[in-house]
């Protein structure tokens, strides 16, 4: 049996694995990334690529805010095909109750140094003329950005390779054990540490971590330049996305550089197959049309799905895996992995090389979420 040895073995070449590879390689460690498929082909390819600051919890804010800053720092280096743009987000309020949420959100962001602007109904209509009449207003977050995730993952992997990292594609890892991964082609790769960055599949490789697949649908339209100017997300999203058990849809649309419009979002537990669910798709598109009726006149060119890696407390698992000496986790990012990939990589590397992280790592430590660990 052929054996190879590295300092860091990363399982998963999604954007999180790619960012980790790049960050470890930057510190001079010998890294290999293993993936059964292609770079950025899983949840990364099914994410909108919204680089967004979130406020569900202090820990979520800290990681998204930190990560957004890292993306801004990286911006000059990003190749054109990453399509990094900064249209900003508008959180759309449908009624007075949601306007109250807009004001709460404004205070929250302001108190933490994030620029925001409250829009009344007229200002919202002016900013996005294709929204329906009768909406209450919104909150503009100008610093939020969008990018094209598969190309961002490829950029990070390529930079890691330039820093000496190796990439093994087409090898399906079937087992992660202490200091070693095995793939279905019989190959073993040894590492001083192993990072499980397998997204929604992470729990199949490391028993005991509480990650569930949360399926999502996306639609992309033909090109309609100028139709949409900001990423728009309904504030009702807060109600629907937080429901941990029910299937839900929300109005979430994004302008692409090409003039295409990316339409989300749906959330489903217990759906294991990647086929498009026509009922969910219809509900999602109907929800989008409730906010932007003219979307109904547009041509969609593609519909696809993916699986988010969801944790019970909506925070990722970043750090040492309890019960192991050499296994680390970098998964559980649910719908925020594109944004938080860069922050995740930094604070994981900081833990491994024992340097001081720029944000507190405790909220993301896997030890908080362990039920019981069974050694593989």
């Amino acid at each position: 049996m052929k054996k190879e040895t590295y300092e860091v073995v990363i399982v998963g070449a999604g954007i999180v694995g790619a960012a980790c590879a790049d960050a470890f390689a930057e510190r001079g460690l010998r890294v290999v990334v293993v993936d059964r498929d292609v770079v950025g082909g899983g949840a990364t390819a099914a994410g909108m690529g919204h680089i967004v600051v979130m406020d569900d919890s202090e820990a979520q804010f800290a990681l998204t805010h930190y990560s957004q800053r890292l993306w801004q720092d990286l911006r000059p280096e990003l190749p054109d095909d990453v399509e990094y743009e900064q249209p900003g987000t508008i959180w759309v309020a449908a009624d007075d109750e949601e306007m109250a949420e807009v004001r709460r959100k404004r205070e929250y962001y302001r108190n933490r140094g994030v620029a925001v602007q409250v829009m009344d109904a007229r200002e919202l209509k002016q900013a996005e003329p294709n929204l329906r009449d009768g909406l209450a207003g919104g909150l503009l977050v100008p610093g939020d950005a969008v990018l094209y995730p598969p190309c961002a993952a490829r950029f990070l992997i390529t930079r890691a390779q330039q820093r000496g990292a190796k990439l093994r594609l087409g090898a399906c890892v079937t087992q992660i054990s202490e200091g070693c991964v095995r793939s279905n082609d019989g190959q073993e790769i040894n590492g001083d540490i192993v990072v499980n960055a397998a997204g929604a599949n992470a729990a199949e490789l490391t028993a005991g971590i509480d990650i569930k697949k949360r399926k999502g649908h996306l639609v992309i339209t033909d090109r309609y330049p100028g139709f949409l100017r900001h990423q728009l997300v309904e504030l009702g999203y807060l109600k629907s996305a937080h429901s941990v058990s029910r299937d839900s849809v929300a109005f979430n649309v994004q302008p692409r550089r090409t003039g295409q419009i990316l339409i989300g979002s749906s959330r489903q537990y217990g759906a294991e197959h990647k086929e498009v669910d026509q009922t969910m798709l219809a509900n999602m598109v109907r929800r989008a049309q409730e906010y932007m009726p003219a979307l109904g006149t547009m041509s969609a060119v593609r519909v696809w799905t993916g699986f988010r890696a969801a944790t019970p407390d909506k925070l990722p698992l970043i750090g040492p895996c309890p019960g192991y000496k050499s296994v680390y986790l970098a998964t559980g990012h649910e719908g925020l992995g594109i944004t938080t990939s860069l922050g995740t990589a930094r604070i994981l590397v900081d833990q491994v090389v024992d340097s001081k992280p720029e944000i507190a790592v405790e909220p993301y430590l896997p030890s908080r979420a362990v039920k019981e660990f069974v050694h593989a």
Partner: protein
């Protein structure tokens, strides 16, 4: 020979075509490409049967209309430069 003609405008220029002519043909008579690709290349009808989407243009304000599948009607506004 067809006895009836209809007039449409392609990028503001009037084109007279026999009744029953597709818009794609009217665009060709006007000497225009149908659309421009993401990388700026001029495109025109390839399949002629609504499959390839290369003949798209703005017809009466509706973007991405497949002009090979639409017949010319009086006073249609066709834009390939939008």
């Amino acid at each position: 020979m067809p006895s009836e003609f209809t007039v449409v405008r392609v990028n503001g220029v009037s084109v007279s075509v026999p009744v029953g002519t597709t818009i794609a043909v009217a665009i060709a008579i006007a000497g225009q490409p149908c659309r421009t690709s993401v990388t700026g290349e001029p495109r025109g009808p390839l399949c002629g049967m609504g499959i390839c989407f290369e003949c798209r243009a703005v017809v009466n304000g509706i973007p991405h209309s497949r002009t090979c599948q639409l017949l010319c009607e009086p006073d249609m506004e066709v834009r390939t430069d939008a």
